[in-house]
Symmetry: C2
Subunit: 355 residues, 2 copies
């Protein structure tokens, strides 16, 4: 059961992840954390965080207390750790003791959270400058200037569109708010923000998606390295002896003489059903179309164009790979690479390559 | 950290699940298994399978060997078990010993699998009658009639559309194939197939989705009970003091005087990003619209219409509930309830109610 030929697999190149971190850190002027929420965007927080720690990352961001505890336990077990772990969603009533016990730093988003925290230890302040999601308003922030804050942060809403007027607007609001916190450490740039002007860098960048290979600006060539490859094994080849409907609803027709591969990857694995009838995979380097609807556990691929001697039981179909980066698969699904990665399910084996 | 008010939660009513099984079994003429693949469609295979075992289910279907092993271990630990576990994807090279060790019955789908199995124990035969996905052709099946088969099965492609001509076609093909296997136990009906004519029932029904509350025929009133309720906590309320854009890309505008709740549920939890700007939740029984894009870990909900005294820190927004069954949320996302359930992520706490 250990043979990876038996399972859908996400192969994660931790060396490429580390190089992406180095590039982002360099672009950000040398001050760079890593966002590893949502299980490191689905790639596996334990391995990703340890690989990033190994190349010098000492500040991490997660979404929730549970994620913070998991990461702290990983770092303690893995290396002994001097890392700071920030929790974006902040602290709820009665959670302060858990934050203290695991040395987690809450990002405080409103007055209720500030009260729950009650100066129990280091904390970050989130000022909303245009997301309208979490954080205090700039006006509220002014009234909190007397506190000591480990970090003051805000979050860009449109940084993946470099020319969006919202970027300048948020920058202006953030700088204006920071004027009330002289000497405070500040953080604004997500992955995309790092590639805007240096003005956005402040004291700490917070890349997430681009660590994992997602393009910071889909309108331009992707400067990031490919990190994660999704592939799945063939369950069965079908040589089609007469025209026949394929899959649920019979939405496509397999043509006489064609060869289909039934592949072990379905929407329960996060291969979205919206990809039915209009996505592609790669088989031995050949681009092969999906045919019919994506099922829960399977998908049908027309492998007629793959040379017969390559259609072996061990052939794997790649769905995220160098030829088809996650951003491209996401575009076919009408979404973004983030959703593709974070949607990958528990049956997909994560396999890590260190070199 | 045990307080469910702190997490997105899927509350699963195991008594309702058991009643759904009883209804399906009765409709199927008393012979009924349960399909619990993909972690029991995301609801949790351990608890679901034990609840079904408790009400007499003795035959289960999973997709893969790994799922079979997990289920066998669950049943052995839970009750001591006489249950049969079938594995839809069949057996690969060198896996036969694992099937034997865990008393799993492979569904054999082609000659290669039949060779891998090599009569190592009881096996089922899958005859393809119109899915063109897994299974031998009816012509191949004839040549396999001399073997002993524990079960002969086929799979309906269009049973959720009762009037689809494919149903009669598949039934005819299956009956014709079965003529070569006198006395064999046969199985054709999935959830939807149970609600077609009795002719589709044969010796064993194999419902999956409708156990969990999904309608077997979305064109008719749903005869199944509601099983699983998805809700998420409010992270922060925002009283909007001037018109402002909300979320990534600023795709929506929060109006002055409105109140938004930032809710801890995002696409990393399986709340699909395609629901951005056009889905609803329920807050204290009030229908409340989503506003802006779904983020990875959060979504913004306009709760202006919820009476102020109900907008408490403990308020939870329901996204799958009696007022909005999973099929309805799925329709808003342009997909089916199966994908919604199986897509629910690991951060969502599964909470089980037994009575």
């Amino acid at each position: 059961m250990e043979n990876i030929h038996n399972s859908p697999t996400l192969k994660i190149d931790l060396a490429a992840l580390a190089r992406n971190y180095a590039l982002l850190k360099s672009k950000a002027g040398g001050k760079c954390s890593a966002v590893v929420k949502a299980n490191a965007y689905g790639l596996g927080v334990r391995e990703a965080a340890l690989a990033l720690y190994d190349v010098g990352c000492r500040e991490f961001f997660v979404a929730t207390l549970e994620e913070g505890v998991e990461l702290r336990n990983t770092l303690v077990t893995g290396h002994g750790s001097q890392a700071a772990i920030y929790v974006f969603h902040g602290v709820r009533k009665n959670q302060a003791k858990d934050f203290i016990a695991h040395e987690l730093i809450p990002v405080l988003n409103d007055r209720a959270q500030i009260e729950h925290w009650n100066n129990a230890g280091p904390a970050a302040l989130h000022i909303d400058t245009g997301m309208c999601r979490l954080g205090v308003t700039p006006a509220e922030a002014e009234t909190l200037a007397a506190h000591h804050w480990t970090l003051i942060l805000s979050h860009l809403a449109c940084a993946n569109e470099a020319a969006h007027p919202g970027n300048a607007k948020q920058l202006t609001l953030f700088k204006k708010a920071l004027a009330h916190f002289p000497g405070a450490r500040a953080s604004l740039a997500n992955s995309s923000g790092i590639f805007l002007s240096n003005e956005h860098h402040f004291n700490l960048a917070r890349p997430g998606c681009s660590l994992y290979g997602i393009s910071p600006d889909t309108a331009r060539p992707n400067p990031m390295e490919h990190v994660a490859t999704l592939s799945a094994p063939v369950l069965q080849y079908r040589v089609i002896d007469h025209d026949q409907p394929v899959g649920y609803g019979g939405t496509a027709t397999a043509r006489k003489g064609s060869v289909l591969a039934t592949v072990e990857l379905g929407y329960a694995d996060g291969f979205q059903r919206v990809l039915s009838n209009h996505a592609f995979g790669y088989a031995a380097g050949v681009k092969v179309p999906l045919i019919g609807r994506v099922s829960m556990d399977m998908v049908s691929i027309d492998v007629s164009s793959v040379p017969e001697h390559l259609r072996t039981p061990d052939l794997r179909i790649e769905f995220i790979c160098r030829q088809q980066p996650v951003d491209m698969l996401a575009e076919a699904a009408g979404t973004i690479g983030y959703e593709i990665f974070t949607g990958l399910g528990r049956r997909i084996k994560r396999v890590y390559r260190h070199e």
